[in-house]
Symmetry: C2
């Protein structure tokens, strides 16, 4: 066995922590917890970890360990803040990098000390900022999607115009719209942004067009800048496809200063199995916020995806739970929603929600503007429903 000597770099003794759910009986779960401490930090066998700073501070530390009423165990494991620092990519790595490959470990929540929270800017707008931008201080917000893939840029812009005339305030690209020949990014953004601005001039509203900038690595920032120049009012990003830190970078960009809408594409596998991956609250709530999303889109219960009501409400809690200076953001449930689901959604989420209804607006009647106005009336006067 060889000897290793540590760096003289001094550590602050400040730590962040992650709550993990661990499968198995007490012995198996305890082994998992000790394994996480090694795997996520020094990544060598315990016998190789020298005494001193490495063992006392660099190594993960079990802060709490207890049986869960649902079965299995919960462990709170802390890490030295210097291991991740202000690097979101590395924070994800410490949180769940290698242990993503091990069965029976689910990351449930993240607790960062104030110094780390202050090193992330988080959402630029958050709930209050987005409400101010849209001129909607209290009520639920409305969001829709331009689709289907295969329409021309002109066809999508015509849809955007009608949505905006009908009172939908956040008009986003479907996340499948990239830079296809049907509706190239530049044409689409120019035409859709203009269409929404035209509707705004006619109605006096402040609807925004939110193009999808989920793109090749080296195209994300150029497309976002182009979108800004062309009058886009926000940006849609699927961080499961681009990497979470790409979203953080867009959110932090003062030259853009646009609200960010996070889309869950490619992230679903992380939450599907309760014994592995990450919790809904952590992935779609805490991490989306930390990475600068102002609204987090996810599939609502009872739609065409399988999330339960409790899972959806846990995301909503994650959008507002205490995270120091990191702003609260909008839960944005969608995915197979229709007008008749609105009362139930308002009951579940209260007013701090952005309701995402896409195809449901198109199938509800032949007059899209009229359908949108009916929806708008529903959320402006929810009392009338009872």
């Amino acid at each position: 066995m060889m000897q290793l000597s540590e760096s003289p770099f001094p550590l602050s003794h400040e730590r962040f922590s992650v709550d993990y759910h661990l499968a198995g009986d007490e012995k198996a779960a305890g082994e998992k917890a000790r394994d996480i401490c090694l795997e996520q930090t020094v990544e060598v066998p315990d016998a190789l970890v020298p005494d001193g700073m490495l063992r006392e501070q660099v190594l993960g530390r079990i802060e709490a360990f207890a049986a869960r009423p649902e079965g299995g165990f919960a462990a709170r494991i802390s890490y030295a803040v210097e291991i991740a620092g202000a690097d979101l990519t590395q924070l994800l790595n410490v949180l769940f990098g290698n242990i993503s490959i091990k069965a029976g470990i689910r990351a449930d929540r993240l607790d960062l000390p104030e110094t780390m929270l202050r090193s992330f800017r988080g959402p630029r707008f958050g709930r209050a900022g987005l409400r101010a931008l849209l001129g909607a201080p209290h009520r639920p917000l409305l969001c829709t999607a331009l689709k289907p893939l295969g329409l021309s840029a002109e066809g999508l812009a015509e849809l955007a115009y009608r949505f905006a005339l009908g009172g939908i305030e956040i008009i986003k690209d479907d996340h499948g719209l990239a830079d296809q020949g049907f509706a190239p990014f530049q044409d689409r953004v120019r035409l859709c942004a203009r269409a929404v601005q035209r509707a705004n001039r006619e109605t006096g509203s402040r609807s925004i067009y939110v193009p999808n900038v989920t793109a090749p690595f080296d195209e994300i920032c150029p497309r976002a800048r182009l979108a800004k120049e062309q009058g886009a009012g926000g940006l849609l990003v699927a961080p499961g496809l681009t990497g979470l830190d790409a979203m953080r970078c867009l959110a932090d960009d003062d030259a853009l200063a646009l609200p960010i809408f996070a889309h869950p594409a490619f992230q679903g596998t992380y939450v599907l199995h309760p014994s592995s991956g990450m919790s809904h609250q952590l992935l779609f709530g805490q991490l989306a916020r930390l990475a600068g999303a102002d609204a987090t889109i996810y599939p609502n219960f009872g739609g065409r995806f399988g999330f339960t009501r409790d899972e959806c409400l846990s995301i909503a809690r994650g959008t507002a739970m205490a995270m120091g200076p990191i702003k609260a953001i909008f839960p944005t449930p969608g995915g197979g929603m229709s007008l008749d689901r609105v009362p139930e959604m308002l009951e579940a989420y209260g007013p701090d929600v952005a309701l995402l209804i896409g195809g449901g607006l198109m199938t509800a009647g032949s007059d899209l503007i009229e359908t949108c106005r009916r929806l708008r009336a529903l959320i402006e006067a929810p009392d009338r429903l009872s």
Copy 2:
């Protein structure tokens, strides 16, 4: 129901296809297959899809559907090439974006037509190029990791020097080494690259130092350039953390022209449950190749992770299966490997493998150089083992 009119953009009629494994009986699996066709393309209810180009070409198409001997069904679904084109991010989105959120769907393999394969450069070196670079035309390659986190840059460089003197040719950062104060990126890369070059001068070998450039979005390229300037011989990236296309971008960069080593951190959840996510072969084989990795690191069977022998061999197949001009790459199994596992690994993978042994070299004895030389002797003369 409103009417939609399609774009006049002409499609080529060329299609790519994805094989999905679908859970459930014939009826349920058939519904899943039809749902994938909608969800991954037009994302509106079937009734809204207009006849003509949208229905005939943009919509996904079930090309084959059959029961699997293991249970469940397999469906081959094809998509118009223009939906993804040369955009890897969008290809991932079509392959598995929204349906990642649906249970009982596993993407098993990808088949791209020649025109699409030609639009990706893939691995710059591949097996033959990496062998030429390292001067090892036939035998298995050796790879190790610099760790633990908490050592100084000087301490890591001393390890790198000894590994190289001992005949380990690929000396990579542990994936947890980012830009921590213990061993800042710039210092570490300078010292480790020099240490390996010094060993090469002494031995006449061609070992390479491979720093980890998994980093904040806007730091990935700057760190890669710095690494190149400082004499790094390759780059380590964890595409699960950076986004897959970040790796593609590094691989395609002619100013870098360095071999790329893909690390599986944060990707494990995708393969853990056989009824969801993606197959090992697709994620760590086909997709890693398409995104330009020259070697794909994954946990070997019988180590500290749970992959089976069959799963590992499927990855090895994915590194070399026919993909037009996309080069074959090195399967790089590791994760808790030790010298006494070498014969078994050689038997399983044959000579076209890079064996990753990290902590196992450090625990095997007090003289690291001597331990490395024993390993090197093992892979140079595997016949002696029998």
